[in-house]
Subunit: 119 residues, 2 copies
């Protein structure tokens, strides 16, 4: 299976349960829904996974669907859990550390993270 | 309470449970998270509510969080339920009819739906 990376035709109707989850690093799997200038990535993280602090010119809004996550955002640290929403303006350095249970995060980006679309 | 409509500062960390739900029509309440070019609107619909078929130049991706919804998208009809994701390219006419239980939809837009920000 390959992730869904085509620009969606009119009426595109997907289910998370049917979208391939691509392992992208130890303990991290990613599902994608890709529009024209909107991209949604749903990540499943094993406990204690840490993502490198990074930044990108894309704006990001993240929903915590499951689990607890310690985010570094600029010079701040935030502990987030299910039902939380975090805003990452373009260019702000950020990183995430998954706490003691599996976590699911839904990241929305604009524009597309083109580097995620390369095979 | 007023909806959250300011451009979020770095480290903005919200909880859906704390974001004001604004009644915008009979049986429809809307919460908003507003970024620079990303906007998230979470709608709670009473059963059987129908939204007018409409279109907008903004791209939209919708997550069904709860309930069952019949969408019209262009010339197609789709029945969607929790866990579904639908893509609405810019300019495509669409509308929703809530079926027999309360529904919660999360709509992501780019750019901002400026008309939603007017008092």
């Amino acid at each position: 299976m390959v992730p869904h990376i085509e620009t969606p035709p009119v009426g595109t109707h997907l289910r998370w349960d049917d979208i391939a989850a691509e392992p992208i690093a130890d303990g991290i799997a990613r599902q994608m829904v890709v529009g024209q200038r909107l991209m949604v990535c749903r990540f499943r993280f094993q406990p204690h996974v840490e993502t490198a602090v990074h930044s990108h010119p894309h704006e990001q809004i993240t929903f915590v669907e499951k689990g607890r996550v310690r985010f570094v955002i600029g010079d701040q640290t935030r502990i987030a859990s299910a039902g939380d929403v975090l805003c990452f303006p373009p260019g702000v350095v950020h990183g995430a550390t998954i706490l003691d249970e599996e976590a699911v995060l839904v990241d929305v980006f604009t524009p597309l993270r083109e580097e995620f679309l390369k095979k």
